[in-house]
Subunit: 297 residues, 2 copies
């Protein structure tokens, strides 16, 4: 194996300790960052994620409260609940846990969270702000993936990057975050004629498709960075395992750097959620102070 394996847990730990300092500073000004997790129906489905977020929130100095609503809660009721959280100055961010019951369209809920409390970075206005290169609450997985690339000794300006997967919340935001850093970006997907042609030309490859083994070593340029965003549960003779979208062994022979799954993008994504919580709190503090200053005039 020639690739250096990127330690997502270490990157996440460093990020959380930076976030913790900012959270303490905000708390000392009366603005303790506070997240609310909203899940609907069967709590077991999202329990692992919620517990993990809770733990990481604690270590980042962010308060965290999980609320579970019954499966039969109506869309109108949930929107009302979100409007209540939007209006509550003690709440700085809202997380909508997936999966949701079939009668609740996730996008409608995500749009109902106020953009200033959109710590998951899913609101259309949050996505648009990223396109505009504004300091904004970006979608956590995309931001985390790009942050990992930035830890490597690569010059971003002019870097040739291929993104495989063009989802609205991962592939596309990664593409414009990278454009904002000066990279030359190609986005491939299931309709692309030859993904390998594009991936072999790239200094860095991001893959976020959800297909184990999709990227193999022969699809990479020697020394390239490979950021694997996929999370797939597969059956093996030794029992179930979690793997990414890359065939790790063959890719690690060719790549210069590679993220493992688990232990790569995942932990940095949760740390980014905490970073967004602190950023959201600061934006809200500034917003309220501006508003008060104006009425004082």
């Amino acid at each position: 194996m020639r690739a250096a394996v990127i330690d997502g847990k270490a990157i996440a730990a460093e990020l959380r300790s930076e976030v913790n300092l900012k959270a303490q500073d905000l708390a000392s000004q009366g603005w303790q960052p506070m997240l609310i997790s909203v899940s609907v129906g069967d709590a077991a489905a999202s329990e692992i994620y919620v517990r993990n977020q809770q733990r990481q929130a604690n270590s980042a100095g962010v308060e965290f409260e999980a609320r579970n609503y019954p499966a039969e809660t109506s869309l109108e009721q949930l929107i009302g609940i979100l409007q209540g959280l939007n209006a509550d100055p003690r709440v700085n961010g809202v997380i909508i846990q997936r999966p949701l019951p079939d009668h609740i369209p996730v996008k409608v809920l995500q749009k109902a969270v106020h953009p200033l409390k959109d710590v998951e970075g899913m609101h259309p206005a949050s996505i648009g702000n990223i396109v505009y290169n504004d300091l904004a609450l970006g979608p956590c997985t995309a931001v985390a993936s790009v942050e990992i690339l930035k830890t490597l000794p690569l010059q971003m300006e002019g870097l040739n990057v291929t993104v495989i997967g063009h989802s609205e919340i991962v592939g596309k935001p990664i593409a414009f975050l990278l454009m904002g850093l000066g990279a030359t970006v190609t986005v491939c997907h299931h309709m692309t004629r030859s993904v390998a042609m594009h991936s072999r030309a790239a200094d860095a490859v991001f893959v976020a498709v959800g297909k184990p083994g999709l990227v193999t070593g022969d699809m990479l340029k020697p020394g390239a960075a490979l950021i694997d965003i996929g999370i797939n549960r597969i059956e093996t003779p030794d029992g179930p395992r979690t793997v990414g979208d890359a065939d790790f062994d063959s890719c690690a022979e060719v790549a210069g750097w590679i993220t493992p799954v688990p232990g790569g993008v995942g932990p940095v994504t949760v740390a980014t959620l905490m970073k967004n919580a602190v950023l959201a709190t600061r934006l809200q503090m500034d917003h309220y102070r501006d508003a008060y200053a104006r009425t004082d005039v």
Copy 2:
């Protein structure tokens, strides 16, 4: 010359006649589409554009009113004016003419236009909606450029496209509009190591940089489509001329299709503004009707 020259005026005329039918239908329901043009300071700077928009609005069945405010109008006053237009149900769209005086940041004004009246498609929420592939008010130049490509007999799914220029309101939105259609998109810019390497691999090239002669025939694959979005005034021995970013003569020898400047993307952009005016009016009509229906319950 082997390239077919794309007739932007004909595409625009057809689009305007479709828009006109929809405008009449809306007018018959009491929702005559109506645009307000806002310019600040020296009206002469934007006069050509405003007059052209006025003419095209007339032919598309859209009412148009140009308002000019003195150069010394403050940002706060202008935001107040826009909030008034946002609240006025007879106004369906607001156009912010450029250039603005130095003390007026254009982005702040664009954000102050309500997303439902954002006929220029510049609000972050409008940009974000495009990323989400939602029916939305897209940035006119980007939408027009993609509409032109769609008139050609090319299969969009899997098409290799290179976009040169990564501005927030042209290059990037073109990229995700094309991704939404299934194309494989590479975005190049001034930091790209070799633009020619990417453009020669492409079935279609979009260029929006503002540099005359940037794209030459040897940078194209034979038979490719070239959509030239640049608008540059240059001096020639025969007097000033308007040209695009492509060296037209050498590109026309290689390309399969090429847009002229002027007469290519420009007219389709203004027709797209009118299409947005009608779409915005329909969205507002639906929004008001939903609101009334709810209070009736």
